[in-house]
Amino acid sequence: MNRSGVRGMLRSPFVIVTGVVLAWFVVTFLVWPNANLLIATFFPDGTLTLRAVDKLISSERAMRSLTNSFLLAVVLSVTVNAVGIFIVLVTKYFDIKGARLLWFGYASTFIYGGIVLAAGYKFIYGENGIATDVLLRFFPGLDPAWFTGFFAVVFVMTFATTTNHMLFVSGALGKVDQQTLEAAKSMGASDWTILWRVVLPMLRPVLFAVTILTFLGGLGALSAPQVLGGREFQTIAPMILTFSTSLTSRDIAALLALVLGVATIVLLVVLTRVEKGGTYFSLSKVSSELVKQKISNPVVNVVVHVLAYALFAVYTLPVVLIVLYSFVDSRAIESGELSFGAMSLDNYARVLGQSSGLRPFIVSVVYSGLAAVISVVGLIFVTRILSKYRNWLTTAVEYLLHIPWILPATMIALGLIMSYDHPNLLVGNIVLTGTTVILLISFVIGKIPFTLRLLKASFASVNDTLEEAASLMGARMMYIFRRILMPAVLPTALAVGALNFNSLLDDYDTAVFLAHPLFQPLGLVIKANTDGAVSLDARANTFVYTVLLMVITGVTMYLVYGRAMRPGKGRRRRAGRGVLPTSGGASVAPVPDASTRPGAGVTARTATQPSAEVA
C-alpha cells in the first residue's frame, strides 16, 4: 500500500490524467455551481443577507415543518429498524416456512419507490381505496380519510425504506459465525438471549449505518409527506422544492437545504467516529455458515409466522394491485372496483400505441443507463486512486465528492442552471442549459457519493498484496487494474450501476429543471399524468408506466443480484468473491444509501449515506 505523499502520487501518469479530469469535474460541477448559488442567495450584492433567516424563524409553518422532519427522522429510525430487523431475521435467521417467498415479498421495495410507491399506498389505503373499503365494512365509524398525516407517512416510509436492511443487514447477518451461536447455546442461552446478546450486537455497525441512512431519509423525505402528509404533517423537502422554483425565494430554499446539509454532516461525522470504534466481527479464519435457527417456543413461533406473513401482505399488496389495476379501465380505477372481467390490455395498447408513449421510456432508460455507466466507470478510476494514495489531497477530494449528499438535487440543478446558462470557460464556453447534456451531468453528480462509498469499500476489500504480487511480476498499473482489480470490484460496480440506473428511471426533481423539452424523461410524464385528474385515462396510464418501471427495475435487479444468488457454476464465479455490496470482504458491508433505488423518492434525498467499513 502506497501511503506516499502528494508528490510521489503525481509521478504516475495514470494519476495525473485521472486527476486532471477529476479536478476539472469537481471544480466545474461540484464546487462552482453550488458556491455560485450560495453566494448569489446569501451575498446578492456582495454583503451577507440574512433575510432568509428572519423569514424562516418568523414562519410558524417553516418551523413546524422543520420539527416534523426531525420528528419523522427519529420515529423512522425506530420503526424502520424494528420492521427491517424483523424481516431480515425471518428471511435469513429464523427457520420460517416459506422464507424465500417472504423474501421476494419484502424485496418489492427494490423495484419501485418514490412518488410511485407513495401513490400506490395511497391508492389502496386512501379514501375510496380498496383496503379502506374493507376496513369500513368492519369498522363503519372509521374516517375514510384515516390514512393521512403523520401516521400514514411513517407507515409508508417504514415499509418503503427497509431496502437498506434487506441489502446490508442481511449481508452482515450472513457473516455471523455459526460457532458463536453454538457456543452461546452450549452455555445455556435461550433463543432470545442469543439473538439479543450475541447476534444483534455483532450487527451493531451495520445497524448503526442503516439507522443513520434512515434518519437522513426521514429528514429529507419528499414524496411520502407530499402525497400522504396532508396539511397537518408537512416537512422540509417539499418546502425546499416550492421555494427553489421562485427566483425571489431561493434563499429560503437554500437555507432550508443548508439545515438539512448540516444535519447530514453532523451525522456523517458521528458515523465516522463510531466506525473507528473497532472490530465487531469474528475474524476467525474458520467461520462456519449460519444455520437457520428454529424458534423453540411454539407460541412465539406461530406469532412470528403470522407477523411475517402479515408484513408480506403489506409489502406485496400495493404491487399486486398496481399490476391488476393497470389492466382495468379508468372508470373502474376511479371507483376502486376490481373485476377480472373488466381486465384488458387496452391501457397498455393506449400507452404503448401512442407514438409518444414509449419515448419517455427510452429517454429515461438511456439517460439512467448513461448516468449509471459514467458514474460507475469514472469513479472506479477515481476510487482506485483515492484508496491507493492517502494524503491531504486525496482526503480533500474525497470530501468534495460528497457535496451532492449535502445539497438536495433541486439545489444542485439550480446551481447548474445559474452557472452554465451563459458561456463559461470551465465548460469550453458552451451554454449547457437547453442541451441534453445538462440533465445527464446532474444525474451523474447525484450518484457520485453513493457510488464512491460502495466502490471504495469494494476496493478496500481487495487485498493489497494482490496488487504487489502483480507489480512484482512486471504488470503495469493499467494491466493490474484490468486483470486484478476490475474482476474483484466488478460485481460491486455492476450492483451499484444497477441501483443507480433504477433510482434515476423515474427521477422528477432534477428533470423538471434540466430536461431538454424534446427528451422528457418518464418522471415528468408520470407527474404530468397525476397532475389534475382531468383525463380519466391519466391514472390508468400512470399504472401502466408504473408496471413497466417495475418490470425494468425488476429485470435490472435480477440481472445483477439474481444471477449472483444462483448457485454458481464455473470458476468465473470466484470473481464474485466480493459479490454485491452486501458482502465486501473485510468491510462489514459497504453500506447503503437512502437513494439506492428503494428508498429513492420516498426519501427523496438523493444520496445520503455513509458506509460502515469496520476496517
Partner: protein, 357 residues
C-alpha cells in the same frame, strides 16, 4: 548478492528501521527472524521495492536497485496470504507474469507446466479453481508463480503461518528442498524460531528495526549475541547472582555476578555429565513438571533462581514435584550480558563443543 546499506525506513513519524546494514550471499537461505512489528517484513519489502527507504541503498549483484521499480529487480515473492488472484485459475495465476512479458502462448504454457511439475502440481490441478486447492497446494501455486519468472532472489513472507502445524512441518522441508533444488538466493521472513533454525543457512535476528545478530543457526542459538536474542531463541532461565556465585564456587570459575545471566534448559542436568567434569552441583527442589513424551520440563527452585530443566524421558525413574534434586551446571554454558544487553564475552566455545559431544 544482496546488500542493505545504511537503510532507513520511516512511515510518517514512525521509524520502522533506523539503520540497517546487511549482506546476503549468493545461493543462501537467509532468514529474517523476529517478533511481529520488528521490521523484518519491512526489510523484505524494501528489497522487493514496495517500501521506499528514506535513506540508504539496496544493492543486488553489486548494483544499486533502490530506485528501480519492483519488477526490474528480478525478485520473486510469496506472500503470507499467497496473494493468488481469485479471478483466475491455477494456470492463469502462474502464467500471469509470463503473459505480462508477452511470451508466446506456447512458451507460456511450456514454462507453466514445467514449473508446475517441479513444484509438484499436476496438469489437472492447473485447470482448477483456487478454492478447490488445499492450503499446501495454494502455497505451491504461489511459489510456482514466483519462480516461473526465474528471479535471482526469492522472497518468502511468512509463507507457512496460515497453515496448520502438521502441514507446516511438511512444507518446511519441501520448501527447503525446493530452494536447494533451484539454488536460488532466498530471503525468508518468519517469527517462528523453529523454522528459522531448521531451514536457514544464516539468520538475522531483528528487534525494533535493528539487527541484533547475524549468524548461522548454531551461532545464534549457542552464542546469542544479545540478551534479546538469548530470550527470543530457545528456552532459558534467568539466574540470580546468588545462583551464579554458587556455580563459581562449585566449578571454580569466576563468572561476574553483576551481569544478566541465563542458562538454557537443555544445558543443565539433574545427573552429572561425565563429559563435563568442570560442572558445579547445586541443590534445588522440583516445583513443577510438564510431561512432553520425548522429554519432561522441570522447574527447579535453586538459590533464588527458577531454573527450567529439560530431562530426557529415557525410561529411568524421574523425580516428582517436591523432590530435592541436584542441578549440574557447566559455567561455560552460562550466557552473560552486560547491562546494555550485549554478550559479555564469547562463551567458551571449546567447552560448548565438549558439551555437545
Amino acid at each position: 548478492m544482496i546488500r542493505y546499506e545504511n537503510i532507513n525506513v520511516t512511515f510518517g513519524d514512525f521509524v520502522a528501521i533506523p539503520q540497517l546494514d546487511l549482506q546476503v550471499d549468493e545461493g543462501e537461505f537467509f532468514t529474517l527472524l523476529g517478533p511481529s512489528g520488528c521490521g523484518k517484513t519491512t526489510a523484505l519489502r524494501t528489497l522487493a521495492g514496495f517500501v521506499q527507504p528514506a535513506a540508504g541503498d539496496v544493492h543486488i549483484d553489486g548494483r544499486p536497485v533502490t530506485r528501480l521499480p519492483s519488477d526490474k529487480r528480478r525478485v520473486g515473492m510469496v506472500f503470507q496470504n499467497y496473494a493468488l488472484f481469485p479471478s483466475m485459475n491455477v494456470w492463469e495465476n502462474i502464467a500471469f507474469g509470463l503473459k505480462v512479458r508477452k511470451e508466446s502462448k506456447a512458451e507460456v504454457d511450456r514454462l507453466v507446466r514445467d514449473i508446475a511439475r517441479r513444484v509438484d502440481l499436476s496438469d489437472e490441478q492447473l485447470e482448477k479453481d483456487l478454492a478447490a486447492l488445499s492450503g499446501g497446494q495454494q502455497q505451491r501455486v504461489a511459489i510456482a508463480r514466483a519462480l516461473v519468472l526465474q528471479p535471482k532472489i526469492l522472497l518468502l513472507d511468512e509463507p507457512l503461518s496460515n497453515l496448520d502445524a502438521k502441514l507446516r512441518g511438511q512444507l518446511r522441508i519441501q520448501l527447503k528442498e525446493l530452494q536447494a533444488q533451484f539454488g536460488i538466493t532466498t530471503l525468508y521472513v518468519t517469527h517462528d524460531q523453529d523454522e528459522a533454525l531448521t531451514m536457514s543457512d544464516r539468520i538475522a535476528v531483528f528487534n525494533h528495526g535493528r539487527v541484533e545478530q547475524v549468524g548461522t543457526p548454531q551461532e545464534i542459538y549457542d552464542q546469542s549475541a544479545t540478551e534479546f536474542v538469548c530470550n527470543f531463541i530457545g528456552d532459558s532461565s534467568r539466574l540470580t547472582p546468588d545462583f551464579v556465585a554458587q556455580v563459581n564456587l562449585g566449578a571454580g570459575s569466576d563468572l561476574p555476578l553483576e551481569r544478566s545471566s541465563y542458562l538454557r534448559q537443555e544445558k543443565v542436568g539433574l545427573q552429572p555429565n561425565p563429559a563435563l567434569p568442570r560442572s558445579a552441583a547445586l541443590d534445588g527442589v522440583v516445583v513443577s513438571r510438564r510431561y512432553h513424551g520425548v522429554h519432561s520440563s522441570y522447574t527447579v527452585s535453586s538459590h533464588g533462581s527458577t531454573v527450567k530443566v529439560m530431562q530426557r524421558e529415557d525410561g529411568t525413574v524421574q523425580p516428582r514435584v517436591g523432590d530435592a534434586v541436584t542441578l549440574h551446571v557447566n559455567p561455560a554454558n552460562v550466557l552473560q550480558y552486560t547491562p546494555d544487553g550485549v554478550a559479555a564475552a564469547t562463551p567458551d566455545v571449546a567447552a560448548a563443543e565438549v558439551t555437545l559431544r
